[in-house]
Symmetry: C2
Subunit: 309 residues, 2 copies
Amino acid sequence: MVSESTVRRVQLAAKALKYRPNPMARGLKTNRTMMIGIVIPDLTNALFPPIIRGAESVLSGSGYISLIADTDNDPERERESFDALRARQVDGLIVASAQREDWALRSADAADMPVVLINRRDDQANLPVVMGDDASGIEQSVRHLIELGHRRIGHLAGPSELSTGVARTRAFRQWMFELGGDSDPDLIVETDTYSVEEGARAGKILLDTAAPTAVIAGNDQLAVGLLDVVKERGMRCPEDLSIVGYNDMPYMDKLSPPLTTVRVPHAEVGAEAARILLRRLEEPDLDPSTVALQVRLQVRGSTASPRTS
Amino acid sequence: MVSESTVRRVQLAAKALKYRPNPMARGLKTNRTMMIGIVIPDLTNALFPPIIRGAESVLSGSGYISLIADTDNDPERERESFDALRARQVDGLIVASAQREDWALRSADAADMPVVLINRRDDQANLPVVMGDDASGIEQSVRHLIELGHRRIGHLAGPSELSTGVARTRAFRQWMFELGGDSDPDLIVETDTYSVEEGARAGKILLDTAAPTAVIAGNDQLAVGLLDVVKERGMRCPEDLSIVGYNDMPYMDKLSPPLTTVRVPHAEVGAEAARILLRRLEEPDLDPSTVALQVRLQVRGSTASPRTS
């Protein structure tokens, strides 16, 4: 117990000396390393840097620093990353690389390290998740195309090993049914990865077998790959085919044509995940919750009414 | 000293048990933390993730993990990042955020921590640097435009606080002189930051005061900002103005028109910086060298002959 005047003198001296608390010294007392691991499936996918920046802005405000691991969508590298981060005794993990059957993640969770997931979830692990509202994003996309007069709407589905792929495809089926789109199963083609190359490969199959007038892609990279195929074939977007993406990555508004896509508040996703993780460090028994942040369709030049309508 | 047969038995057993060395345990013996700090000026600038991935591919192969700090181009945050990384006792630093007068960097270097710079250098610190060959990239750009018939070529110069800004502008002046471009000082307008917004602001001034037929931008973001202004004004690229960028960020080939720009081997820049850092950890007295990797102009739709020629 110290007197109020002593407290004031210490505070003034600290200010005069520009004292900043040393996170490592504080960690010694609290038995923490003040490091948080952030595991990303693909750092070169432009949606992850804003998520990391959002998380870091919250973490650094509390004296934490982040160790970033990039798994390159490889489950073996994901396992190695968890091992390496655990060996460095990070205080917790933010994981954006979860597969639906993620054994590495389940063992990390079992090791009693606080974990918060971003975007992608494991089907069984009972962990908090922060994500954009996938069902709402797809609903807005389908509704927009139906209102333009499209019925023959295709879907380039994300990988079925990832929860985002499954959730968006499920929402696509639901809203096509509710809003009166065609129900031909050929209108859905699944991709193996979220990449421009897969968008082109699966996009060719979709165009050849289903002849849609509009396509909702599982993410922007798939949409960009489809757009490449449309141009290669001498078709025009949006006159011959409307295209909708998902995520609104940087520069999607500057493509030719500018891409209609679902904007996800990525920085806020990262920030909210960091807040939840910090709360779990204080209260480990907190029930895990799912936070779905609002998303909004950005209507741009890649969607228009079909020519026949 | 152990016998050869014992060594062989240990190796076989290690293989059978899928033994992987524990970097932290090894660090105890070598007094290392097996962590490398990577300091980035702007993680959301799409050129840095491939640099990080390149560096990590080399570091992880040697059992190192990287701590990534994002300074958001703020010298105060750069200083805090150095403090935080030093407090975690990283074994070395890869720094892509250097200013030409970088006091935080000079004190980190003075603390006897091995440092390798990427792209940007401090004017005085005697440190190894890995970068693309800026002079060659600008030479190729000027030569391309001169061969197309341009003489009135403008330059959106990068910030003069950064070595890349100064080096590219110096090369621009030199090659405009050697290859017979106009020498009007109004043809060079300096920017405050490498951003789309600054490209638009400085681009307006350049168009209004110098009326160039072509512009070489200090990087792709400045080029994208200039392209926005051209479109706003109802001008056409390349018919009314040719534009050349620098870096070849992702999606620059998909803009409207696709951007002619200088491709820098970013993953290789990161990998080479990591190799040099690992070498310096073994031999601290190694002389610092500058490695300038080859760059190549990617000619695309944003450049053409001027209308008057």
